[in-house]
Symmetry: C2
Subunit: 229 residues, 2 copies
Amino acid sequence: MLPSTALTPLQLVQSSSLPALVQAEIEQLILGGELAIGEHINESELALRFGTSRGPVREALRALEECRLVRSEKNRGVFVREVSVAEADEIYDVREVLDELIGRRVAERATPGQVLELKALAAEMDEATAGSDVKRYHALNLRFHDRVVAFAGNDRLAGTYRLLTKELLLFRLRGLQDGGGFAVSNTEHKAVVKAIAAGDAERAGRLLRRHAADSRARMHKAAAIAAAR
Amino acid sequence: MLPSTALTPLQLVQSSSLPALVQAEIEQLILGGELAIGEHINESELALRFGTSRGPVREALRALEECRLVRSEKNRGVFVREVSVAEADEIYDVREVLDELIGRRVAERATPGQVLELKALAAEMDEATAGSDVKRYHALNLRFHDRVVAFAGNDRLAGTYRLLTKELLLFRLRGLQDGGGFAVSNTEHKAVVKAIAAGDAERAGRLLRRHAADSRARMHKAAAIAAAR
DNA sequence: CAATTGCAGATTGTCGACAATATGCAATTG
DNA sequence: CAATTGCATATTGTCGACAATCTGCAATTG
């Protein structure tokens, strides 16, 4: 693991506020699928679960609402958001241009060590593909893109990208994504890493953008199948 | 005014939660400059001002933290964020590619009526320029870009763009922006509108992106002057 | 006299309680 | 018997209070 996640207990207590911790916890509950899409979120229940009062839970939910992971109806409570195909499509529109920028920047700035890390992740994804381990592949895929955007060296770009990615993850939880074909996806990853290693910004940007476009196409395909059913 | 902002009292009460109203109110306080950059925000004071308890205020502040308009320090409270030149630079990096996408989309989708509205805004900005009314120019400029992104017909794109714009607005409040030269800016606006009216997506995208780049350049110039002082 | 320590006031973090509202079920009525 | 009405319950929205923490100042000490 990376040292960035290793915090001493002291640092943890000093930095993290209770609402922030609760927020992260609820986010995991949603992204991990424990809280189902569209499901009503019971404040008291969560408060009880986390051993806090409802105050911190409400603050966390307000933050998550701003992240667009939940929606709130007055006097009815908050619900896990359901992202429609149309919305996912809009997000992909934005994500494509961000991915191009990310590809360019990371090709310009990535260190040899960072390139190595990306190569290792791509290799792991090959393993997961060989073993048909879809769950592991998805986790690695997320990590791959997260590392890439981190290496692009622009925090706001990374923040913007991650926000959209989380929303897409929410969409994916509806099950309309990837009717297989993730061997193709990793071929694309490796091509991207190659362009990055070569420092070819133009090419890395183009490839990463196309990768996003392909991902969008796969999403549409799966959605069409689901709609026909 | 537009009908979109006209809500019946019934709708207002049903839709808007107290924390959401307080959030909008605080946002205006910040963006309007009433709460100074870097200033500590007193929860009790705001609660008193709005006639609520501290709960809704805290929820609003948590949402504003997610918007990056405020930052929060544990046990010390929340402060109006101060955006550095480096951060503004990062934001511009993202904004440029978004502006290109916006230009393309709006050129593809804008109705004649929408084009007319943009032309009218550009004309008003010419008036403000002639009258050296900087404040009015800035307000119109904001509205112009807000309308453009609205006409692009992609809500997530609009949301992403507005988030970044607000953060830049926060930076601008530090006074390091525009050492004049906003006559140039409006010439660019008019060229953009022309491309949109012609339905030239390629050109509109390129021009809007360059407009953002020029804005960034003006920011750097002002920042350099301020740094030398 | 500089530096540290201790204290008073102010502010945040969290909680439990109460009022307002929504929800589901049973009773009623045509 | 279907539809509506009214009620009991659960949940949200908001509040005031209290404990924990920070801040600035004064007193103390070497």
